[in-house]
């Protein structure tokens, strides 16, 4: 375990809030359905992390031709200093990660982003996870339970092997509802099929969501219809994860009523669902809403 962050020489105006950049050893890896559960030893990251934050992993080693970091929400951390992530091997970067043998080291930046906002007083909470998007919700559930909250969870996926964490959910929440598109496990259909009932019967104050954008939109709509607040952790492709590349933006309306293109890494990844301009997302693209801050001057000069 070594840290590059400690190599920084002291000087005037040194950063007050520091984000660790560490080399984390992969200590365990296991297959969970369609996914890979990886555990890294990274005490500096584990110590600072909160539910809903993420880590950015470098892939391919020091001379990798894949320069962009892969960002994963933190599944859980342990007091011993481990950080767990859940990875779906989809492209060259995630395949490199899931092909690693234990004891290999990976450069990790984190924790990054703001975590899930937590209620000050005990509240009724519903957690909704799509596929392996559920990864951060179990740790969140544990923290909410410690605060005296009532916690139900809904886990949905296309097929049974793409569900993540059903067993763990039974341990850390009050009630678990499962849906699959093919009906192989739980209720056949999307999470939106069961969510109105779950939110209604639990009289939910807060609905936390993590998963594909289409699901988060639906979670927000259902929560709003039941006067619950939706807090959703978004998935937008990021190049850096630290707020400098400006690629992971999405239109979010602020308290001043103005919509801005906010970075989902540093200004998210958790946003109030009713603040996201869902209508801007279509067909794998997100348009800048015409009324967004600075949209006019961009439009005037971009063909």
């Amino acid at each position: 375990m070594s840290t590059t962050s400690q190599e920084r020489p002291p000087s005037q105006g040194a950063p007050s809030e520091h984000t660790p950049v560490v080399t984390g050893e992969l200590i365990t890896k296991r297959r969970v359905g369609a996914y890979h559960h990886l555990t890294f030893l990274a005490p500096e990251v584990a110590e600072l992390a909160r539910p809903g934050q993420f880590v950015a992993l470098a892939v391919g080693g020091e001379v990798s031709a894949n320069l962009l970091r892969r960002c994963f929400s933190i599944h859980q951390v342990s007091p011993g200093g481990t950080v767990d992530v859940v990875v779906a091997a989809r492209g060259p970067g995630t395949r490199w990660l899931t092909d690693l043998s234990t004891h290999h080291e990976v450069n990790i930046v984190g924790p990054l982003g703001g975590g899930f906002p937590l209620p000050k007083d005990p509240a009724s909470c519903v957690l909704v996870g799509g596929g392996y998007g559920s990864a951060p919700l179990f740790w969140l559930a544990t923290v909410l339970k410690e605060r005296g909250c009532q916690v139900e969870i809904v886990l949905g996926a296309a097929t049974g092997d793409r569900l993540f964490g059903v067993t763990q959910a039974r341990r850390v929440t009050d009630r678990v509802t499962v849906t699959t598109d093919d009906g192989s496990i739980g209720t056949k259909g999307w999470v939106s099929a069961v969510l109105p009932d779950v939110i209604g019967r639990s009289r939910a104050d807060i609905v936390y969501g993590c998963g594909p954008m289409a699901m988060l939109k639906s979670v927000t709509e259902i929560a709003s219809a039941h006067d619950a607040v939706a807090q959703v952790a978004v998935e937008e492709s990021m190049a850096c994860g630290i707020g400098v590349c400006m690629t992971c933006v999405m239109p979010v309306t602020g308290e001043d009523g103005l919509t801005r293109m906010l970075r989902s890494c540093v200004e998210g990844p958790v946003f109030r669902g009713d603040r996201i301009r869902w209508e801007a997302f279509e067909n794998g693209r997100c348009q800048v809403p015409e009324d967004a801050y600075g949209a006019a001057s961009t439009r005037a000069t971009n063909d």
Partner: protein, 329 residues
């Protein structure tokens, strides 16, 4: 007894770029470091020779829709569209903060018209924290704005018009660097036009206009259709462009001005290539996305590499490859 001191402290890394005196030649590349606060969580940005801001225009800009990027071999394509706060908010917020942490600021400016470049320069020069500004980089080469046929840096006359106006609007002690594109037939011609128009230095190179197709959807991967290619993949293009312009200066075809080299620098050795080709300073861009500490790491590595090769001063290595050419021929 302590072992003899190794490392960068023995080499003089100071540079003087057209009167811009910096403790070392390392900078972030514009648009790869936001406006400082984000990287300040990883290292003290006052350790950099200068901090180059994200290009700022007159008005606030939302930038383009998403997807805005695509990973490419040893690089990436970006299509941000110059998202930013506009010059007024920039001078009231980011610039004040940069000054508060002791950064030497090289402000990157742009405009949709020649006049807008001048307006931005005026607002900047009249702002309260202007004393933190050590220079202005005129971004005439962003591929993600305007009608691409009219990227200023693709035309010598347009480039000269912008540079002359910005030069006129800024106080004489603030050097003006023109940021050039290598997407031109003859970069020496553009460089010459900028220098004649009053550019105190040149920054080379901006991203290269490029495109990626998403083969699942069989459509352009970024929403802006085309984007700017950056990263180590374009480093040889940067080395070539710097070499050509430096050679023209040595030949006396262009007045000799400092070149800030940028393009695909990931390591100290990469930086050394640009320096040997003729760059008097180095910007680190896309590598920062891979390693947030890249700008200061490259500074250490470059100093170590120069020291290993027996240099006492960084400035002695600038353009050195031009002096080692004849024998090779």
């Amino acid at each position: 007894m302590a072992p003899p001191r190794q490392g960068p402290l023995m080499i003089d890394m100071r540079v003087d770029l057209a009167g811009m005196r910096l403790p070392n030649p390392l900078m972030p590349a514009s648009g790869c470091a936001a406006n400082g606060k984000e990287l300040h969580r990883f290292f003290d940005i006052a350790e950099l020779g200068a901090f180059v801001t994200k290009t700022v225009l007159a008005d606030p800009r939302s930038g383009r829709g998403t997807p805005r990027m695509a990973e490419t071999p040893s690089g990436m394509l970006n299509s941000i569209g110059l998202q930013g706060p506009g010059i007024l908010d920039f001078t009231r917020g980011d610039l004040v903060w940069l000054k508060s942490v002791g950064a030497r600021v090289l402000v990157s400016i742009a405009g949709n018209t020649v006049g807008e470049f001048g307006d931005v320069a005026v607002v900047l020069s009249e702002s309260p924290a202007f004393d933190a500004v050590v220079g202005v980089e005129v971004n005439i080469s962003c591929p993600n704005v305007a009608n691409r046929g009219l990227v200023f840096a693709c035309d010598p006359l347009s480039s000269a018009n912008v540079v002359a106006l910005v030069r006129e609007k800024l106080p004489r002690h603030i050097p003006v660097f023109a940021k050039l594109s290598a997407d031109v037939t003859d970069i020496v011609q553009i460089a010459s036009a900028c220098v004649k128009a009053g550019a105190d230095g040149l920054t080379m190179i901006n991203t290269l206009l490029a495109m990626v197709i998403d083969t699942d959807l069989l459509r352009p991967q970024v929403a802006g259709v085309t984007g700017g290619l950056s990263g180590p993949a374009i480093r040889p293009v940067a080395v070539r462009a710097i070499w050509q312009v430096r050679a023209a200066m040595i030949e006396g075809d262009i007045a000799s001005v400092p070149i800030i080299g940028v393009g695909g620098v990931r390591t100290g050795d990469d930086a050394l290539q640009l320096v040997a080709a003729g760059a008097s300073a180095i910007q680190v861009g896309t590598a920062t996305f891979n390693d947030p500490t890249a700008p200061v790491r490259v500074k250490r590595e470059l100093a170590a590499a120069l020291q290993d090769k027996g240099f006492a001063r960084f400035s002695d290595a600038v353009g050195i490859a031009h002096t080692r050419l004849d024998k090779a021929r």
